[in-house]
């Protein structure tokens, strides 16, 4: 299988940028680095009225100086070598003229060599792409595997496929019980991006190229909505399954039209993998972000230090940017990459193990402030935005039950699928998970009744995080329809996004198994 190459037109910049490092390390104690990013995004959209193409490119460089106290960054999209050199010199002057605040504590940093990096437990997908004799001058490249090169697909072919999906959706609507006129809006959209990134410091010169593809089908009937998404990192094969989801999407829409209003209360709930993912993300994802801990804004940091138990034996949450086989699929999960935007190589990390907190995820400055190991979670919305500790793929570990067994264990209650956002409360430990689709179950079987929230909107699952994590009764296998042992290694992570402090949107995967909760507040 081929790998995405680093875009050739960026090579001259790659060769030039190391020459800026002496400027960025002009003073003793300064750690200089350079991050270059280009995201070439093509969005094709077809709906009942029109078709459209949007071609966006975001290209810029971040010059970075960490002086032992503060991380300074200078971001620009003026990439002419002479302009960059002048920018670097002006930037270094600004940093030199900014003394550390009174009372600031020095936390020096030195870059990590390839030989030290190779001591870490790395996924084979990463290890095989690092030359054994790599040194500071070696241009190491990581490319995502792809079967069907997405760069070769024409606009005509993509729009043709999307038009066919829209037409097929209209054609299948009567089979779902939707009369003519019930289907007021249908839209199929493919979002495709080539994401090149380059990180250079005095110890490494590494690049990565990701192909990110998602296809989305949205259907509406008046104010009611149902949708399906397929996506991941790889070639066009990543989006192959959307056509198979049309009938299900229409069935969901027909059901939502007939949905009843839920009486708020405490219920026994079986949550699907995508809801479990949002729960993991909001529970001990956000609160385990190192910068939030360093700001004194997370209860998780106190709980990690005290060792207090905050969930039962099923409550194990991981974050992992190195998921190159998503569930039983042979492509990478949405939140994956080879290294983060501060040049740290991706690794699996356990955030919560059987109810006990482990060390948080970090970016460079939060790792130094907290005195915990670095992890590959330094991410930014774009080169023009600041770096924070961000989640990649966050998920609950798998259990050993089949879905059929969990349905029996559920007995009377609800099955919740299709997330509708979520919100963390890192200090207060509250949690909010939106649910678009809630089906009633009696005696382990679907009754056919579907519920919306008490006022007609999405259902909100809320509560105190430790209470919810202690309410997990059982978890499914990754391949939950099979009774034999899982072959897949990582639970399925769904396509998603994540905001931080009410802004700063990044890609994130979230997932897990089906999970049975003994009791949760739904309203």
């Amino acid at each position: 299988m081929a790998r995405a190459p680093f875009s050739t037109d960026l090579h001259p910049l790659r060769q030039f940028l190391p020459s800026l490092l002496p400027v960025l390390e002009a003073q003793p104690g300064w750690y200089g680095s350079v991050y270059l990013e280009r995201k070439t995004k093509l969005t094709h959209t077809v709906n009942l009225r029109q078709s459209n193409i949007n071609d966006e490119v975001s290209l810029g460089v971040v010059l970075r100086i960490y002086d032992g106290y503060t991380l300074f960054e200078q971001s620009s999209d003026q990439l002419e070598p002479e302009a960059l050199l002048q920018l670097a010199q002006r930037f270094a002057g600004r940093v030199a003229a900014t003394p550390p605040a009174a009372g600031a504590i020095a936390r020096p940093y030195a870059p990590v060599s390839w030989s030290e990096r190779l001591q870490l437990p790395l996924d084979d997908e990463i290890r095989v792409q690092i030359p054994a004799d790599a040194n500071a001058a070696t241009e190491v490249h990581f490319g995502i595997r792809c079967e069907q090169d997405p760069t070769r697909l024409s606009n005509e072919a993509i729009l043709g496929r999307l038009k066919a999906i829209v037409e097929r959706t209209k054609a299948l609507a009567p089979d779902a019980g939707l009369a003519e006129g019930d289907l007021s809006f249908v839209q199929a959209q493919q979002r495709y991006a080539i994401e090149d990134a380059l990180f250079i410091d005095r110890a490494v010169n590494m690049s990565q190229t990701l192909y990110r593809i998602a296809t989305v089908l949205v259907t509406m009937s008046g104010p009611h909505r149902a949708h399906s998404v397929v996506g991941g990192l790889g070639g066009q094969e990543v989006t192959a399954g959307l056509e198979d989801k049309i009938a299900g999407t229409l069935a969901d829409l027909a059901a939502v039209r007939q949905a009843e209003l839920l009486t708020p209360g405490q219920y026994r709930v079986l949550i699907g993998p995508s809801i479990a993912g949002v729960l993991a993300h909001e529970a001990f994802g956000h609160s385990q972000e190192g910068d939030t801990c360093a700001r004194g804004r997370s209860k998780a940091w106190d709980l990690f230090q005290s060792g207090e138990i905050v969930g039962n034996q099923h409550a194990t949450i991981l974050n992992n940017p190195a998921i190159f086989k998503n569930g039983d699929e042979d492509f990478a999960a949405w939140g994956s990459y080879f290294f983060d935007e501060e040049g740290w190589l991706a690794q699996e990390q356990v955030l919560l193990e059987a109810g006990q907190l482990r060390a948080p995820m970090t970016n460079l400055t939060s790792a130094l402030r907290l005195g915990v190991p670095r992890s590959a979670n330094g991410k930014r919305e774009s080169w023009a935005n600041g770096v924070y500790t961000r989640q990649t793929n966050t998920y609950f570990s798998a259990g050993d039950a089949t879905l059929a067994e969990l349905m029996q264990q559920l007995g009377d209650g609800f099955v919740a699928t299709q997330p509708a956002g979520g919100m963390e409360d890192p200090k207060g430990m509250g949690i909010q998970v939106g649910i678009q689709f809630l089906q009633e179950v009696r005696d382990g079987k679907f009754t056919g009744r579907v519920f919306r929230g008490p006022a007609g909107g999405d259902v909100q699952l809320t509560g105190y995080t430790p209470d919810l994590l202690n309410a997990i009764v059982a978890k499914s296998k990754i391949e939950y329809t099979r009774s034999d042992a899982d072959e897949a290694v990582h639970p399925q992570n769904k396509v998603g996004g994540c905001g931080k402090y009410h802004k700063e949107i990044v890609h994130a995967g979230s997932g897990g198994p089906y999970m049975l909760l003994a009791q949760a507040t739904l309203g």
């Binding site: 949007n54 008046g222 700001r295 804004r297």
Partner: protein, 457 residues
């Protein structure tokens, strides 16, 4: 990577291209400064990150001719001066030819445009000085003794310059500024069992001018709310009269604007037509709502729309009756409206007759939302919901005020606005969403009372 061509060359090539029907070119530059503050061990205020950003964008929306004259192709594309022009243009036009829209003409170029106040001259003149001034304000606020612990703050300032060029000859330059300040404080207290209960409050403000950012007030409120956050009891389930404040009202009314838009009408999304009631069978205050693109220092104060249509005050709803549809040139043409209308601007809602104090006493128990965890709204259904991060329960039977946390509030505009009571004090609220060039601007009641809102706990 020198410039290989000029903007004039791009415009002239587009003008002379036989397949190009029209175009809109946007030239944008952004200068931004950012500082991320936190409390060092020992309490000193330090800067964790200090950033300077410069962004230059040249993007175009191209309209191309198709064989069927009733249709046209359309593509949006970013251009780079450092790459040869012809291949960029050729690929854009080829892409546009693959698409299909109902044809529409650009408007005739306006000759007179309103002058608007969308930028703070002090920031434009001295960005670095403004950063220093607000940094000092933050340092002063942090140094002020309080019964809560300062955790962190962020400060962003930016200047946005946009020049819009249209194939109808219009060239329009605009200038805007943005300020973002946030403050997080926390508090803790020992419980009877010896354990420690702690919580925090994060408060944020967006604005266009320095005079609208009250750093001292923001930090004081964050600290006060952090203190309240550790005095909470759990919210009890039920149906409550609920007071919501301007930040929530801004979001809910913006959602309503989409249902008054030509875009929704054309795409057969939920739409309230002229003559219809905004809130069906209401017994509460009647809503009067307008788009005001010339509101001084609003987050969406503009002279023209994205399609070059001059923007002027547009009443959309008067006394709960819809009086206009918000439609830019494209959708006005599609819907056969006499002329395009205003689609940008501050959502302006007329104030009501009720004081805040009277709203808190409007029922035996009134729940006042101080902060939602994350307000999720659906513009199509008008529904909204969130966990309650911090609320106040005004118990008018016992004469007490208690702080609450937790529980899930869910509502729908059509149901819970039926007994709406609007406060008599109007305020401005601004919000910018990441890198979205269009801000969310609101000028209207500081708070409102909704009725019969469901809370699950």
């Amino acid at each position: 990577m020198a410039h290989l061509w000029t903007l004039d060359q791009l415009k002239s090539t587009l003008d002379n291209h036989p397949q190009v029907k029209g175009w809109i070119v946007n030239e944008e530059t952004i200068q931004r400064r950012e500082r991320y503050f936190l409390a060092e061990k020992g309490g000193a205020l330090v800067i964790d990150q200090d950033r300077e950003v410069e962004v230059n964008n040249l993007s175009a929306r191209l309209f191309v001719k198709l064989d069927d004259a009733s249709r046209q192709g359309e593509v949006s594309k970013k251009f780079f001066y450092s790459l040869p022009l012809a291949p960029q243009l050729d690929s854009a036009i080829a892409a546009g030819l693959q698409t299909s829209h109902q044809a529409w003409p650009l408007p005739t170029a306006a000759t007179e445009l309103p002058s608007v106040q969308s930028a703070d001259p002090a920031i434009v003149e001295d960005l670095e000085g403004s950063v220093s001034r607000l940094t000092q304000d933050i340092a002063t606020a942090v140094a002020t003794p309080r019964d809560a612990r300062f955790d962190s703050a962020e400060l962003f300032l930016s200047i946005h310059r946009l020049t819009k060029h249209l194939s109808n000859g219009l060239i329009h330059r605009s200038l805007s500024t943005r300020i973002y300040v946030e403050a997080a404080y926390s508090c803790s207290k020992q419980l009877a069992d010896g354990s420690v209960f702690s919580d925090e409050y994060l408060d944020t403000r967006w604005s266009v001018r320095l005079a609208d950012v009250d750093v001292a007030g923001l930090f004081e409120q964050a600290a006060n709310h952090a203190r309240y956050a550790v005095e909470v009891s759990k919210t009890e389930a039920g149906r409550y009269p609920v007071i919501i404040h301007a930040d929530v009202l801004a979001t809910l009314f913006h959602d309503q604007i989409s249902q008054l838009s030509g875009s929704n009408a054309y795409h057969q999304l939920p739409f309230v037509a002229v003559g219809d009631a905004l809130i069906k069978s209401t017994e509460g205050d009647l809503i009067s709502l307008a788009l005001d693109p010339q509101q001084p220092f609003g987050a969406d104060t503009v002279a023209i729309s994205g399609q070059g249509v001059p923007q002027a005050l547009l009443p959309l709803v008067e006394q709960n009756r819809v009086v206009a549809t918000a439609a830019d040139q494209q959708f006005a043409h599609y819907l056969n409206l006499p002329a395009p209308t205003t689609v940008r601007g501050t959502v302006t809602v007329a104030g009501g007759r009720h004081s805040y104090a009277s709203l808190t006493k409007a029922a035996p128990q009134v729940l006042e939302i101080l902060q939602f965890s994350g307000l999720f709204t659906d513009a199509n259904s008008g529904t909204f919901g969130s966990e309650i991060r911090l609320a106040r329960l005004h118990d008018n039977i016992n004469g007490t005020v208690r702080y609450l946390k937790g529980g899930s509030l869910g509502g729908a505009v059509q149901e819970n606005f039926k007994g709406l009571k609007l406060s008599d004090v109007c305020v401005r609220h601004s919000h910018f969403d990441g890198n979205n060039p269009v801000g969310q601007a609101y000028f209207g009641p500081e708070c409102a009372l909704l009725t019969e809102v469901s809370v699950a706990a």
